[in-house]
C-alpha cells in the first residue's frame, strides 16, 4: 500500500469536495439501488470489482463506493461525430454488473442523441443549456471521428448547420474532462483509414486539451465506466500510456492473458479455419490474430457480460484498440509478417513506427520459434 498512500489521500480529499457539491438528482443512489433490489452487499461487491479492475489495492474499495454514490454530481454530454453508433450501442448493453447502467442513469445524462427524447430545436436547447449551466463541470464524451477536410463541412449539426468540428471544440472548451469513446474518437477510426477522404481525426487532434482515449471497436462498457470512476475518485487523469489510454485497461497485451496462449507457446496453431486445431481451440496467430500487438483487456473482460470475444469464437483479434489498425494490421486474417501490401504502400510505411517496438519484435521472434518447433507436427493440420 506504500506507493498508494498519496493517491489514497488525494482520493479521500476528492470525495470530500464532491460531497460538498449540490446533487443533480434528488434520490440518492443507495435509495435507488435499494428500490431496484440491490443491497449494500451487492453494491460493495461491485465497488470491489471496479477496484480490482483498476489494479488498486482493496483499501480503495470503500472510496469507490463513496465515489459511485456521488456520481450524480457529474453531468455528462455525449456528442456524436462521424460514427456508426456502435459505441452507444455497446454502452446500452452494459449490465455486468447491472449497477453500471444504473450509475449511468443516475449520472445526469444531459445530451445523448441516440437516447434523448427531445429533438431539433429542443435538443439543441438542452445542449446549450447544459453547457452553460454546468460550464467547467461536465464530462464530455465523444463518439466518432471529427471530419476536418472542407472546413469540417462533411458533418453539420443543428438548425444553424454548425460543423461537428466547431461543436466539439466549443464543448471541449467548457468541459471538466474529455473522454474519446471508441477508436474513431480516439484515433479517427474507419473513416480515417487510407485515403481518409474526409480528413477525419481523433478528438485530441482538434481540441487544445488533454483527452483520455478509450479505444475499441467498440470498447467494452466496463472500460468506459472504469474510466469515469477513476475521474470521479481522483479528479485527475488516470495513468495513461503513450496513446493516452488508461493503463489499467490497456496496459496488457491481449496475447499476455489469452486463453489460447499455451497453444502459442507449444507451437500449436490453427492452420485453416474449421480444421482440427480450430476445434481444439489452438492459437490463431497464423490466421492473422493481432493479439501480440494489441493492448486491451478483452482476454479477461470479454464482451456482452463476458459471454464471448473474438478469439474465444475462433477468429483472431484484429487490433481494434490500436491507432490506424485498419491500415497497419491488414489483411486482418493474415499474420503481419506474411504478406506484401498491395495498393496500400503509403500506409505500410507506418507499420514500423506503429508496431515494431522491441517488445513486439521479441514476440515475433517467439512466434517464429514456436512455428519452427512445431514443424514436425505439420501433418496434423
Amino acid at each position: 500500500m506504500n506507493g498508494f498512500n498519496s493517491m489514497f489521500e488525494k482520493a479521500t480529499e476528492r470525495i470530500r469536495i464532491l460531497s460538498s457539491l449540490e446533487p443533480t438528482q434528488k434520490e440518492s443512489i443507495e435509495t435507488m439501488l435499494d428500490k431496484k433490489g440491490y443491497d449494500r452487499r451487492d453494491f460493495m461487491k461491485w465497488a470491489a470489482s471496479i477496484t480490482a479492475m483498476l489494479s488498486l489495492p482493496s483499501q480503495f474499495t470503500p472510496l469507490f463506493a463513496d465515489a459511485a454514490k456521488l456520481a450524480d454530481r457529474l453531468p455528462l454530454i455525449w456528442l456524436h461525430m462521424a460514427e456508426c453508433t456502435g459505441c452507444s450501442e455497446a454502452f446500452i448493453r452494459s449490465d455486468a454488473p447491472t449497477v453500471d447502467s444504473l450509475i449511468f442513469e443516475h449520472i445526469s445524462l444531459e445530451y445523448h442523441e441516440t437516447l434523448m427524447a427531445a429533438a431539433g430545436w429542443q435538443a439543441e436547447e438542452n445542449l446549450e443549456h447544459a453547457m452553460k449551466k454546468y460550464e467547467g463541470k461536465y464530462i464530455l464524451l465523444v463518439e466518432g471521428g471529427v471530419p476536418t477536410a472542407m472546413n469540417g463541412m462533411y458533418l453539420t449539426l443543428g438548425a444553424q448547420a454548425k460543423t461537428g468540428l466547431s461543436l466539439v471544440q466549443e464543448a471541449a472548451e467548457k468541459a471538466a474532462a474529455i473522454f474519446s469513446i471508441g477508436t474513431c474518437a480516439s484515433f479517427g477510426g474507419i473513416q480515417a483509414a487510407a485515403p481518409n477522404p474526409t480528413g477525419a481525426k481523433g478528438v485530441d487532434k482538434v481540441v487544445g486539451k488533454p483527452v483520455i482515449n478509450v479505444p475499441g471497436c467498440p470498447p467494452s462498457a466496463a472500460n468506459i465506466v472504469g474510466t469515469l470512476m477513476h475521474f470521479l475518485l481522483f479528479g485527475t487523469l488516470p495513468a495513461l500510456d503513450r496513446y493516452s489510454r488508461p493503463k489499467w485497461a490497456y496496459g496488457n497485451r491481449i496475447h499476455d492473458l489469452c486463453e489460447r496462449r499455451g497453444h502459442f507457446d507449444a507451437g500449436e496453431f490453427v492452420e485453416s479455419f474449421g480444421d482440427d486445431g480450430a476445434k481444439e481451440g489452438w492459437c490463431l496467430y497464423k490466421q492473422g490474430c493481432k493479439g501480440p500487438y494489441t493492448f486491451n483487456n478483452c482476454s479477461t473482460e470479454r464482451f456482452n457480460q463476458h459471454v464471448n470475444w473474438p478469439i474465444g469464437a475462433g477468429h483472431g483479434c484484429m487490433g481494434c484498440s490500436e491507432p490506424n489498425f485498419w491500415d497497419t494490421m491488414g489483411p486482418l486474417e493474415k499474420p503481419l509478417d506474411s504478406y506484401l501490401v498491395k495498393g496500400l504502400n503509403k500506409t505500410v510505411d507506418n507499420i514500423g513506427t506503429a508496431l515494431l517496438s522491441a517488445t513486439v519484435l521479441g514476440i515475433g521472434a517467439h512466434a517464429v520459434a514456436s512455428i519452427f518447433m512445431n514443424n514436425n507436427d505439420e501433418s496434423e493440420g
Partner: protein, 572 residues
C-alpha cells in the same frame, strides 16, 4: 399567408445525423417535406485496394446498430464473386445470427428509439398502478413487468426525475402534445416495458455473441464460413443460446406484441398516424434460412399498392439519381456504373418558425443521400414492404400472422398502409422471426450430429477478375453490396442500403422518396414541437450512417481525392 418552414435537426433517437424540413400552410398542414443527411464518411472509397477478406469487417463499421448486416453482406458478396459456398452449418449459423440481430434491433427500435413518440412519460405519473396492472390483461394473457408493485416502482423512479426538474434524457421533449393518445395507465405500462426492454436487449445481444463473439460488431464470419466452431460443438453453449432465446421471445410475445395491440387501440383513430405512406411501391428480398429447402420470407416487388400482383425483382432496373444529392452527374445510373463527383453546396439562410436558420434550398442539392429508383420509381423498403410482399405472395405464415393481428385489433387491411401499420409490421416481422428462429436452430442441431464442417477453402487468383454481389433482407429493408476484385484486391465496392431507398431526395423527374412523401398532408399540432413529423420518420427506423457512402470506379489516384473525388451516395 405564405408557407412556413420548420427545421428539425438533429432528428434524435436514430442512427446517425438526419435533418428534416417541412413547409406548413396556415392550418399547419405539411405541403412539402425535405430530408437531408448531414454526414459523409466515404467507407467504400476506403475499401478500395484492400484484401477482399477484409471487406466484411470493414463494411460492418458502416453501422453499429444493424451491425451484422453489413458484415454478412461484405462477406457474402465476396463469396459470390469467388464462387465459394460455405458449408451448411455455416449457413445456418449465419441465419441464427441474423435472427438474433432482428430480435435485438426491432425491440430496441420500438422501445428506446420510437417508443417515446407514442408514450408520454409525464402522463404516466398520474396513472393508478393498480388499474394499470389490471388493464395489462386486456392486451396479453400473461403480461410482463406490469404487477402493481413493479408499476409503482417505475412511477416513483420517474417521479424523482420530474420533481427535480432534472429529466436527463427525458428533458424538453414534447410531453403533453395532444396527439399522445395513451391513457395514463397505458403510458405507465409502456414505460415499464421501456425499462424492462433495456434488460431484455442485453440478453438478445448475448444470444448473438454466443456464435458471433460480441455484439455490436461481431467477429466470426470469414469468407468461406464461420469460425465459432467450438461454440457450435458445445452442448452447454447451444443450450445457453436456447435459454436466452426463450427469454427474448417471451418478452416479444407478452410485451412487444401486447403494446402494439394497445397502440393500435389507442391510436386507431388518431389522424396523424393514419397517413404517412406516400410511396406505394414496395420491395423485399428472400431471407431467413430455416433449413435446406425453406426460407421464412420471399422476395418481390409490388407496384402502386396493388397486392394482386407481385413481380420478381430485376436488378438491372435499379438506378441512382443525384439531381438533388451533393454529387455531380446527370442521368440516373445502375449501381455498377455509378459515377459521381462530390459537390457540396450546403444550406442557405432562411426564415423558420423558430427564427433565422440555415435551410434547404429545394431547387438545389441538399443531402449526402442519393435517390435510388426501381424502374424509375420511388420504392419503400423495410418490414412493412417485407410483410406486404409476402402477404401478396400468399406466404402462409405471414398471412396468418397478419390476419390474426387484424382480427385482434379490428383494423382493416388498409390500416397497414400507415405510420401505425409500419410500426405494427415491424413487430409482426419480429414475432414471425422469433417464432421461427427455433426451426433454424433445430436444423443446426440435427446437422451437427453427422457433420462438423464450418469452412470451405478457396483461393484468390491475382490474375483473374471477379465480380459479385449480395442481396438480402436486413432489419431496415433490402440491402445489397457489390464488389469487383482485380489483382487480388478490391477494385470497386458499393453498398445500396435500405435507408437510401427511403430517405433519398427528389429525383430529376420531381418524384419524392418515401420519407418526403410520407409527410405531405400531415397536420401539426404545434409547428414548434413537431412530434407528428418525428413519429412518422421514426416509423421508418432511419439509419443514416448506412445511407451515405462513396465509390471510386475510375480508380483515380487516391491522393487526388481532394481535387475530384468520385462518389456515389446510396443508404441502410
Amino acid at each position: 399567408m405564405a408557407n412556413q418552414r420548420v427545421v428539425i435537426d438533429p432528428i434524435t433517437r436514430i442512427e446517425g445525423h438526419l435533418r428534416v424540413e417541412v413547409e406548413v400552410d396556415e392550418n399547419n398542414v405539411v405541403q412539402k417535406a425535405y430530408s437531408s443527411s448531414t454526414l459523409w464518411r466515404g467507407i467504400e472509397l476506403i475499401l478500395k485496394n484492400r484484401d477482399p477478406r477484409d471487406a466484411g469487417l470493414m463494411a460492418q463499421r458502416i453501422c453499429g446498430v444493424c451491425t451484422y448486416s453489413h458484415y454478412r453482406a461484405g462477406i457474402e458478396c465476396v463469396e459470390d464473386a469467388l464462387g465459394v459456398v460455405p458449408p451448411y452449418n455455416a449457413q445456418l449459423v449465419r441465419s441464427i445470427l441474423n435472427e438474433s440481430l432482428y430480435m435485438h434491433d426491432h425491440v430496441v427500435h420500438f422501445y428506446h428509439l420510437h417508443g417515446l413518440d407514442w408514450v408520454d412519460v409525464v402522463s404516466a405519473l398520474s396513472a393508478d398502478p393498480k388499474k394499470a396492472s389490471e388493464l395489462a390483461f386486456q392486451y396479453a394473457d400473461l403480461p410482463i413487468a406490469t404487477g402493481t408493485d413493479e408499476l409503482t416502482a417505475v412511477q416513483r423512479k420517474v417521479a424523482g426525475f420530474v420533481e427535480k426538474g432534472q429529466l436527463g434524457p427525458f428533458a424538453n421533449a414534447y410531453w403533453g402534445n395532444k396527439t399522445y393518445k395513451f391513457s395514463p395507465e397505458q403510458n405507465l405500462i409502456a414505460l415499464s416495458h421501456y425499462l424492462k426492454a433495456l434488460e431484455v436487449q442485453r440478453t438478445a445481444a448475448q444470444m448473438f455473441a454466443i456464435f458471433g463473439a460480441k455484439q455490436p460488431h461481431g467477429q466470426t464470419l470469414v469468407v468461406g464460413g464461420v469460425t465459432s466452431i467450438r461454440d457450435m460443438l458445445s452442448p452447454a453453449r447451444l443450450a445457453e443460446w436456447k435459454t436466452k432465446y426463450e427469454i427474448v421471445k417471451d418478452f416479444i410475445d407478452r410485451a412487444y406484441y401486447a403494446d402494439v395491440v394497445m397502440a393500435a387501440e389507442a391510436y386507431g383513430s388518431e389522424p396523424s398516424v393514419l397517413g404517412g405512406l406516400g410511396v406505394k411501391n414496395f420491395m423485399a428480398s428472400e431471407e431467413m434460412m430455416l433449413n435446406r429447402t425453406e426460407k421464412l420470407f420471399q422476395g418481390g416487388f409490388i407496384k402502386d399498392g396493388d397486392l394482386s400482383k407481385v413481380f420478381d425483382v430485376d436488378e438491372t432496373k435499379i438506378k441512382e439519381d443525384v439531381t438533388h444529392a451533393w454529387y455531380e452527374g446527370k442521368e440516373p445510373l445502375q449501381p455498377y456504373d455509378g459515377e459521381t463527383i462530390q459537390n457540396y453546396t450546403g444550406f442557405i439562410d432562411g426564415d423558420t418558425v423558430n427564427g433565422k436558420a440555415k435551410v434547404i434550398d429545394p431547387n438545389e442539392k441538399y443531402t449526402w443521400v442519393k435517390a435510388p429508383r426501381y424502374d424509375n420509381q420511388s420504392v419503400e423498403v423495410g418490414p412493412l414492404s417485407c410483410l406486404l410482399v409476402n402477404y401478396a405472395r400468399g406466404n402462409e405464415k405471414v398471412k396468418k400472422e397478419v390476419g390474426d393481428f387484424l382480427a385482434r385489433t379490428g383494423l382493416p387491411v388498409g390500416a397497414l398502409f400507415t405510420t401505425l401499420g409500419r410500426t405494427a409490421a415491424r413487430m409482426l416481422q419480429t414475432k414471425l422471426i422469433s417464432d421461427n428462429a427455433i426451426t433454424t436452430f433445430n436444423s443446426l442441431i440435427e446437422n451437427l450430429k453427422t457433420d462438423d464442417s464450418t469452412y470451405t477453402k478457396f483461393e484468390i487468383d491475382p490474375e483473374k477478375e471477379y465480380m459479385g454481389r449480395f442481396i438480402g433482407e436486413v432489419p431496415r429493408g433490402v440491402l445489397s453490396h457489390w464488389v469487383r476484385i482485380k489483382n487480388g484486391v478490391i477494385d470497386n465496392y458499393q453498398a445500396v442500403v435500405p435507408t437510401t431507398w427511403n430517405a433519398g431526395p427528389i429525383d430529376k423527374n420531381g418524384q419524392v422518396g418515401p420519407y418526403e412523401a410520407s409527410l405531405i398532408g400531415l397536420k401539426l399540432e404545434d409547428p414548434k414541437k413537431p412530434l407528428e413529423v418525428i413519429r412518422v420518420i421514426h416509423s421508418f427506423d432511419p439509419c443514416m450512417a448506412c445511407s451515405v457512402h462513396v465509390i471510386d470506379i475510375k480508380g483515380q489516384e487516391l491522393s487526388q481525392y481532394k481535387v475530384n473525388p468520385l462518389a456515389s451516395g446510396a443508404a441502410c
